[in-house]
Symmetry: D2
Subunit: 370 residues, 4 copies
């Protein structure tokens, strides 16, 4: 994990700015012989694409991905895969005022302080646009996982928008793709629609969200003590997404409120040489290594700092101003973080799957055997 | 971050098991010419040492650190520093039953499933004993930071024990070292003492905690987009500590409940070429790069799974048992996580300080200047 | 150095195949604020470009580089720089026979054995075409070095073609760019022209070469013991170039023939706090760290395995054949390796310059001072 | 490969100075379940040990290795293995004059110039003593290879001492361990004995050497384009050994003198799905990937710069002196480089074996099959 590269042996390097000619990701270390074409990747990008409804930025990008290398006659060759996405709808004139002023709560400021200059057009490198590269790379990771772990399922959804949370009693997996919020609770989805209309349209505001990503079918044994832990890598993966301010595994922050007796996930027996558990406070990870239970990650996305309401700030020259951000922004950027969180989960799992077979050969201990 | 190595250019590799002859850390990339001796490191280890009072495991380890390399005539030479700590009080007979059974919620199980075998004595590599190596390495990082960032202060403390939280209105920095809980609220500290006595002595239980670590005096510009973000590395650092299940930066998970107007940390002016803020929801990090505000990290430590109350589990051969963990365990392992969290903060900041000067030469943009 | 990434903190990741739509390099960790445009890079690519004279493959590629990211208003921003080169002259029909047979001495075979499949068109990823990406990246490294080490000069040239060597008594720096062989000896250059005409035209053969790359103006102190040595990284850098089979520093293999008395580079005094040497058998590197003398690297390039003379080989199905390689190939691929060697030298030096300032802050010990 | 760490997934970090209390190596990423004890490692150390005969430094070190972690009940656990070697025979008084003067051709100088200070006792970190750590780590790598590649054999020997070379017509594998020079030619060995007596005893000098290391039984498919090539990693590995100035693969530098027709290793058929070759100019590596032939590496070791003959040099204060190095030094340090070269070969092969199974799962393409 070095600046713009993520992963140990299945490595993604992303590049590109919001208003440059293109963005992309280079995937290195992909197993050879995996069937792969643009049509495997495009659907994931389409899920994340901006401009699809009024809940999102109105920037319209086709986000058409092209594979420029690493695939021959429909199969991966083991050499680096370049995923290439042209930028087509850069409306740079929108960014006049913030060219030389800083949005409070935005990377505008810290890029300037670190580098002494910044590409202010659309946030440059700090734009959520970069997450398209992640989603494309995640599409390749999913193909790898589909070959090596056919039972794996990765599902992301929103469990909170601002003050409003889902009712887990109404959790319905099938609902997730039926509303623009990836919300598994249809009643919450309806409320969120009204709420977000108010936030955006009347309040000229934005709002935060909590996203949960669950991977089921993860075999026991992925991850490694102590600094290559599966949960440490997931935490870094999710925290690296724009606007994320907190990451939880399983019970997460609430684990602090539990006693050891309540938090222990009792083991009630074995099935096919693997343990069976009575609960999953651990979120599928013990000592940094997957246990075979669902891997459960949650992360908080802060409200975007680009809002139409004025906030006090300064210009590069130090003078004060009240700043309103015009332009096309997501009132709840957490919505688009759902496919991104899924992609990061896929990337981490693919990386750890390969890393594990480096060390152990993929052979695992079992219960009730020699 | 590769298995047992942490950091980019200031790198720590730890080794050793709970009941082996010794544990230690190798620090690579330390700047040369830094004054360093065991007496700079030992006080930090003493703060974390087990067996100091009834709130902790009764294992008694002097945790005397020796510097075996990388220092000559009292100064670092730029070559690897080996920090060496002998284990002296291994009471392996305590671990009879769990030699072949798995504590629910413990890495016992996943080590077995991944590696096919494990050093069951005291948890082996998964023991919190490894954190002594981190604290020792953190002591070196603090010396580096003292030279390069003399105004930096790192302070860790507990803000929650189980159901009980501090009252921030009573926050008193001076209290932190006056009670065995690193608790900045003296009234809470008194309550926690009774609470923990009950949890441990009568309830045969354990309890979780939330630790907060604050670094003040961090210059703007540390961190790098997009996978070497300061917050992503802090998240990995804290999540890599035993028993941690959630990590927050600034407002953390609560950022999801805020609107953009409330979450924005308004900028009210400049001082010495740096911005002045009205609040710090961001926890001192924007776009993965420090802003000059306090860097604020919080993490949740789950209750230890080693408790005297019986829990359902299985043996390696698959047979069921009700497992009670005898031996010497911390009823609230979060207490000892405070110095560990501080050490990880020091290690991350030292690493990012060096990494930043690699790329930028340590020259920073300023406000109100060319 | 992980599969397709090279470097520690100034990192290059290359991607692309000979007959894919494009090739390129992502440069990560570049210092911000460096003036950079395509016109800084293109001249280096033009030096390496195929099809310039009869001594080279007749494939004609404009090798026009585009910067797709990381530069804003003519200066680097500190974010990843994507260097993009379209492939325009792929004549895939040339590769009919070798689609399913292996050229002896070529990566055809080992790619098949490792990955189970390969992009046979033009050698795919193993083609020397990839070196255009290196040369482009080297152009960026040279811009960084021009800012940080204005006195640095990197010069590559050929000292051997097959059996024929230069006479160092006739060494003339100005000659290097006056002949198609980067040969510093004008008489040798004339002989090589005839020799290569024979090798290619009449003998249907190819021939090896030795390239020397010298960097003058390298400050003392770059490199680090023991596995990040400057010479170890240079050796890996040069050995990673297609067809290279040997790498030497300074006296190189001949150092084995010397005695300690003869090999010692005596120090005759100091100038500006730096030592002055009587000779440079060490090639400017002692203990893996630059001494301030010229850094001298030499590498051997084997003759290309793609020749018009028949050689015994096998097909993928195991049947035997006598294989002649039609198509457009360099009779002495060492010629084009000269700009590539220079580029790798620039990349290694830029990386180590940044790495050194990470650890030491770029402050160096001097002679005759405190 | 980052300062003091070597390897991708099977990683060695060494630490320690010549005259510190101990030296050692941490091995991370070792497969679990490998039988391992000190008795597997000690014999390799004994081969390299100083003070065994008059051809070596007279420093007497038992070089007794202890395994401090990562092994439980005689098998590796998958956690880091600490190999610990105490220094017992430090005679620091020997180093009086060179405490503040620089041996010409020695790292004394560059450590001072880079770090501003150095541990001058016995060369500190730059001492060949560090290679004991490599040899110990190589012993673990050999155990891994013995399990995973039982047919692998690694053999190192000297082919040149100064002006004197072996006659390959007299090559006898059995001779290698019968003389103190690891010389496969008994007649050369006898000559070298006299030669070295003269060099050391009468000439007060030292002499260089060429070491060759051959690995047979390496499966096809190890290595990866383009910056993780097997030959690039071997080149870095060997160049990282003290005093090495050149590295060759197969025909090496001499490949430059060959034509393509002569250099091509013709493929004459297949056996068990693998190709059969008529020659091995490639040294078992094509395109950075092993071909199944013997992997052949050669490296040149310069004569040690610590000699009893006076050489011109300077002191730290810039004053001139004629420097003679008293103390106990190897007249031909290449001799002790033989076991070190073998160890580095073992480490590189183990690392690449694991790295390959990460990406490909260890499944290889074959000839004559689907």
């Amino acid at each position: 994990m070095s600046f713009n590269t993520f992963g140990h042996v299945f490595r993604m390097t992303t590049w590109g700015e919001s208003h440059g000619p293109a963005i992309g990701a280079t995937l290195d270390g992909c197993p050879p012989g995996i069937a792969l074409s643009e049509t495997d990747i495009q659907p994931w990008l389409d899920r994340r694409r901006p401009g699809q409804n009024r809940m999102m930025t109105q920037r319209r990008e086709p986000d058409a991905v092209r594979i420029l290398s690493g695939v021959f006659e429909g199969r991966t060759t083991g050499t680096p895969i370049q995923l290439f996405i042209e930028n087509t709808d850069q409306r740079s004139k929108d960014y006049g005022e913030i060219a030389h002023a800083f949005r409070p709560g935005h990377a505008d400021l810290t890029y300037h302080l670190k580098y002494g200059l910044r590409d202010y057009r659309g946030g440059g490198r700090s734009s959520a646009r970069e997450t398209a590269s992640r989603v494309a790379a995640g599409g390749v990771a999913r193909r790898v996982l589909a070959e090596l772990l056919p039972d794996l399922r990765i599902t992301g959804y929103m469990v909170r928008m601002g003050e409003k949370v889902i009712d887990r009693a109404r959790f319905d997996m099938a609902e997730i793709t039926r509303n623009p919020f990836w919300c598994p609770d249809p009643q919450a989805a309806a409320e969120w629609a009204d709420y977000l209309d108010f936030i955006r349209g009347r309040d000229h505001n934005s709002v935060g969200a909590v996203v949960e990503v669950v991977a089921s079918g993860v075999p026991a044994g992925l991850g490694a003590p102590l600094y290559g832990k599966l949960d440490a890598d997931l935490a870094a993966a999710m925290m690296s997404i724009n606007a994320v301010k907190g990451v939880e595994i399983g019970a997460g922050m609430a684990a602090a409120e539990l006693t050891g007796r309540d938090n222990a996930d009792e083991i009630t027996g074995t099935q096919d040489g693997q343990p069976v558990f009575a609960s999953n406070h651990a979120g599928g990870i013990l000592g940094g290594i997957s246990s075979g239970q669902d891997v459960v990650v949650r992360f908080a996305v802060k409200p975007t700092s680009s809002i139409l309401s004025p906030r006090r700030s300064i210009r590069e020259d130090g003078t004060a101003l009240d700043l309103k951000t015009k332009g096309r922004h997501d009132p709840c950027v957490g919505i688009r973080a759902v496919p991104v969180g899924e992609a990061m989960m896929a990337l981490v799992l693919a990386d750890h799957l390969l890393l594990d077979r480096a060390q152990t050969g993929g052979v695992r201990g079992r219960i009730g055997e020699g």
